[in-house]
């Protein structure tokens, strides 16, 4: 065996590893779930509907993460790749972690969702999901303090609907990320 053979073997191994990782934890699922939740919740983010937007996220945030966990588990059973035994304990820990997020979700919903997505990305060693979660988290945290919608208002845009517009844009960001990920998962290299 020489260096070129070794390089080819390492390259094959990396390709297999990426494929198995994507089959086990597709990035598209959390990105699309939270894209739809963010877009659906965007119209509730107006001052006169307070606290409906907060209540929405306290319910939708944990429900989104639980849905993603359920979907992964179902997918793993179907495709024949995954953790199997012992994962109920992990699911219990995940449920607890999600519930601990509830107070944060009330005050800073988008940042809390992004933190959950970042934790998921770290566990999966998923740089793609981490990138979208980080961008969503930074912009979402700014908007949780109305920084972006106030800028829009200063520019004469948005008005009362500034925050729904920003939420909508962030939802679209996740949607694009999810659709690109879905395309890549359907057409592996």
């Amino acid at each position: 065996m020489d260096g070129l053979d070794a390089r080819a073997l390492l390259s094959d191994s990396e390709r297999l590893r990426r494929r198995a990782r994507a089959d086990r934890h597709p990035s598209s699922v959390p990105l699309l779930v939270f894209a739809y939740l963010t877009l659906f919740g965007a119209p509730l983010a107006v001052a006169r509907l307070w606290p409906l937007g907060q209540v929405y996220w306290v319910v939708a945030g944990p429900a989104g993460f639980l849905f993603v966990a359920w979907w992964y588990r179902r997918q793993q059973a179907r495709s024949g790749v995954g953790q199997g035994r012992g994962s109920y304990a992990a699911a219990g820990v995940a449920v607890l972690a999600v519930l601990l997020f509830v107070p944060v979700l009330w005050h800073s919903p988008l940042a809390a969702v992004a933190a959950g997505l970042l934790a998921m990305a770290a566990l999966q060693r998923n740089a793609y999901l981490a990138t979208f979660a980080a961008v969503f988290g930074v912009l979402g945290a700014l908007e949780d303090f109305l920084v972006l919608s106030n800028r829009l208002a200063d520019a004469g845009l948005g008005g009362e609907h500034g925050q729904p517009v920003v939420y909508g844009a962030l939802g679209l960001l996740l949607l694009v990320g999810g659709l690109v990920a879905r395309h890549r998962e359907d057409n592996p290299r």
């Binding site: 260096g3 070794a6 390492l10 990782r21 089959d23 790749v81 995954g82």
Partner: protein, 121 residues
């Protein structure tokens, strides 16, 4: 008394059981997913039933993977799971391969010798 100052060649770290391409593929996939079923491995690695079965037997005989049979609903499934020694063997193989690549690059991708001073005659 003499001692050999040169470090062992990286191929010394390669283990035949693990090094074979299909078996390394099986361990790589399981190293990422913890476990996988027989049809998934067969499709991903593009192996026949017989081939995959033989490679898994070799790995199981060395204690690098564990095979369990069970049911998912009413459907019989054969699961292959990586063991702790299997993870260790995979990591050692990867290290040896990386060292081989580094050694190759050091020898073949050396910078060109500096040009001599003065214009060519």
């Amino acid at each position: 008394m003499t001692s050999d100052p040169s470090p062992a060649h990286p191929t010394a770290g390669l283990r035949d059981v693990v090094h074979q391409r299909a078996r390394l593929g099986i361990l790589t996939v399981l190293g990422e997913t913890d476990r996988a079923d027989f049809p998934y491995l067969k499709a991903l690695l593009r192996l026949t039933d017989g081939n995959l079965g033989r490679h898994i037997e070799v790995l199981a005989a060395e204690g690098l993977v564990r095979v369990t049979k069970g049911y998912e609903g009413r459907r019989p499934r054969t699961w292959v799971e990586i063991t702790r020694p299997g993870r260790g063997a995979l990591a050692a193989e990867m290290d040896a391969l990386k060292q081989l690549v580094q050694r190759y690059e050091r020898r073949h991708l050396r910078p060109a010798p500096p040009a001599e001073n003065g214009p060519p005659s």
